[in-house]
C-alpha cells in the first residue's frame, strides 16, 4: 500500500531524477540520434541501402544462424540444465560455474579460440576437414560462435525453474499411472516451456547483435559470410554514416520488438511458475 503523494522513505525524487537523467544522457538521447540521422536519408535511399543484395544476404546469415544457434541451445541447454539440477556427478560444481564462461570471456578471445579450434589444422578442424566439413571462414563458423555465446542464456533461465520444481508434481503424475516420458511431456515441460522460450529468445537476441566472437571465424566473405553488424562497421569505415545508420535502424527496430516479446515471455514465466522474473 502506498500513495503517490506521500512517501515515508527518503530519496525518491533524488534517485528517480538521477536515474532518468543518467538514462537519458547515456542511452536514450544517443539512441535517438540513430533515428534522427536516418531521417536525413530519403525513404527511397534508406530502402535501397537496407535492401541492397549484400545487406540482405547479411540479414539471412545473421537471422538464420541466430535462429538455428538458439534452437540448438534450447535443446542442449535444456539437457545440460537437467543434468546439473537432477543428477549428481563428479565435477558438477565446476561445470555449473563454467557454464557462465561465455558471459565472462571477452568475445574477441572466444572468437580467436574458436577459429584456432576449427581451422583446417586445428584440434577439431583436422578431423572435420577430411569429412568435407569446413567450419572456419564459412557460415558454419558463424553458427558455432553463436552457439558458444548463447548457451548460458538457456541454461540459466531454465535451471532455476527446474530447481524450484516440486517433486510432488511428478510423484502425483506417477501415482496416476504416467510413464516417465509422459510425465516429462505433460507435466514438466509445460512448466518449463515459458522459461525455455525466454532463454531461446535471449540467446537469439544476443546472437543477432553479436560481433566480436563471430568476425574472426566468419571469414567475412561478401554475400556469403558477412553478418549484419559487420555491414555497419564496413559502412562506417567507408565514412558512409547514413548507410551505417540505416542498417542500424533496422537492427534496432528488430531488437526493440524482440525486447518486448522477451518481457512478455518473462511475465508469462512468472505467471506460470509463481516466480518473480
Amino acid at each position: 500500500m502506498s500513495t503517490t503523494t506521500f512517501r515515508v522513505l527518503p530519496g525518491f525524487r533524488l534517485t528517480l531524477g538521477y536515474t532518468l537523467a543518467y538514462l537519458s544522457l547515456l542511452v536514450l538521447i544517443p539512441l535517438a540520434a540513430v533515428f534522427l540521422k536516418t531521417t536525413t536519408l530519403g525513404f527511397e535511399q534508406f530502402w535501397s541501402v537496407v535492401t541492397s543484395p549484400r545487406v540482405v544476404a547479411s540479414y539471412k546469415l545473421s537471422f538464420g544462424a541466430s535462429l538455428l544457434a538458439a534452437s540448438i541451445n534450447a535443446v542442449f541447454g535444456l539437457m545440460l540444465a537437467w543434468a546439473l539440477v537432477r543428477y549428481s556427478f563428479p565435477g558438477k560444481k565446476l561445470i555449473d560455474a563454467l557454464v557462465d564462461l561465455p558471459f565472462a570471456l571477452p568475445t574477441a578471445v572466444a572468437g580467436i579460440a574458436l577459429t584456432a579450434l576449427y581451422a583446417k589444422n586445428g584440434w577439431l578442424g583436422q578431423y572435420l576437414d577430411p569429412l568435407g566439413i569446413q567450419v572456419a571462414f564459412k557460415p558454419l563458423g558463424v553458427l558455432v560462435a553463436l552457439v558458444f555465446i548463447g548457451l548460458p542464456f538457456v541454461v540459466r533461465t531454465v535451471q532455476p525453474i527446474l530447481e524450484d520444481l516440486d517433486t510432488e508434481l511428478e510423484e502425483a503424475a506417477a501415482s496416476l499411472g504416467a510413464h516417465r516420458w509422459q510425465t516429462f511431456r505433460h507435466v514438466v515441460l509445460p512448466i518449463l516451456f515459458p522459461a525455455l522460450l525466454t532463454g531461446f529468445a535471449l540467446a537469439f537476441a544476443r546472437a543477432v547483435g553479436e560481433y566480436g566472437s563471430v568476425i574472426f571465424i566468419a571469414g567475412n566473405l561478401p554475400m556469403v559470410s558477412e553478418i549484419t553488424p559487420l555491414m555497419i562497421i564496413t559502412k562506417l569505415e567507408q565514412y558512409d554514416y547514413a548507410g551505417a545508420t540505416a542498417i542500424a535502424t533496422v537492427m534496432l527496430v528488430f531488437s526493440f520488438i524482440l525486447l518486448l516479446i522477451i518481457n512478455g515471455l518473462q511475465a508469462w514465466t512468472a505467471k506460470r511458475t509463481g516466480r518473480d522474473r
Partner: protein
Amino acid sequence: MAGATTMNPGSAGSRGLTRFEAKAATRESPLVKWTILGVSLSFFAIFLLMPLIAVFVEALRKGWETYLTALTDPDALSAVKLTLLAAVIAVPLNLVFGVSAAWAIAKFEFRGKHFLITLIDLPFSVSPVIAGLIYVLVFGAQGWLGPWLAEHDLKVIFAVPGIVLATVFVTFPFVARELIPLMEAQGREEEEAAVVLGAHGFQVFWHVTLPNIKWGLLYGVILTNARAMGEFGAVSVVSGHIRGHTNTLPLHVEILYNEYQFAAAFAVASLLALLALVTLVIKSWVEHRAAQAYKVTEDAS
C-alpha cells in the same frame, strides 16, 4: 534481458544424491540418465571447455619467452592501462546508477515503472556495434557535437572518452538488473522500521539497506567489470585502433591476430581468459555467500 545473468541464490547444489535422484518417481532409468549426461557434457566440453583450453595452449605454443615478451610489450602494457582505466570509470558510474535506480524502483510506486525497467534493459538488447555507432553519431566529426568539440579542441571519438562512453553503455544495466528484483523481494518494512526509529535519509540506506544487498551489489559489480574489461564490438567502433593510445586489451588481441602474430595474440587473450576465470570464481563465491544469507532470511521469515 539479463534474465540469464541474474543471481540465483538457493541453487547451491548439495553433496550426494539430488532430491530428484533420491525419489523413485523423479528418477529416470540409468540408460536415459547416462544418455542425457553423456550428450550434455560432451556438448559442454566441445563448445565451452575446448575453446578455453585452446586459448592457453595456443598462448604457450611458442614457449614462455614469447609469451612473456608479448605481455610486456609497451603496446600491450598501454592496452592494459586503458582497459583498467575504462573499467575504473565505468564500474563506479554504473554502480551509483544501479543503486539509485533500484532504490527508486523497488522502494516506491510510480506510474511507468515497468516501462522504466524496460528502458534500463535496453542496452542489453542493442548490438555492441550500434552502441559504438550512437556515440559516433553524437560526438563524431560529423556528429551533433562534432563541430563544437573540434572548436574547443576536444576529442571523444577515436580517443579515451569515447572508449569509456561505449564501455559505460554496454555495462549499463548489470548492477540495476541485479538489485531491482533483490530489493523488491526484501520489501520496505525494514526501512520503514528504521524511519520510525528516527533514521534519516542516508542512514536508512547505509545501515539497513546496504547490508542486505551487499552480495547482490558485489555480483553486479563483478559482471560489470568483466564486461567492461572484455568489451570488443562497441569499443572497436569508437577506438580508431591507435596503438599505444586507444587500444584496449581485446582490441590489441585483434591487431596482433590480424598481423598473424598468433602466439602473441593468444598470450594477451590468455590474460583476458584468466580474468574471466577469476570472475567466475568470485561469482561462484558470491553466489555461495548470497545463498547462505538467503537461507538465513528464509529461516527468519
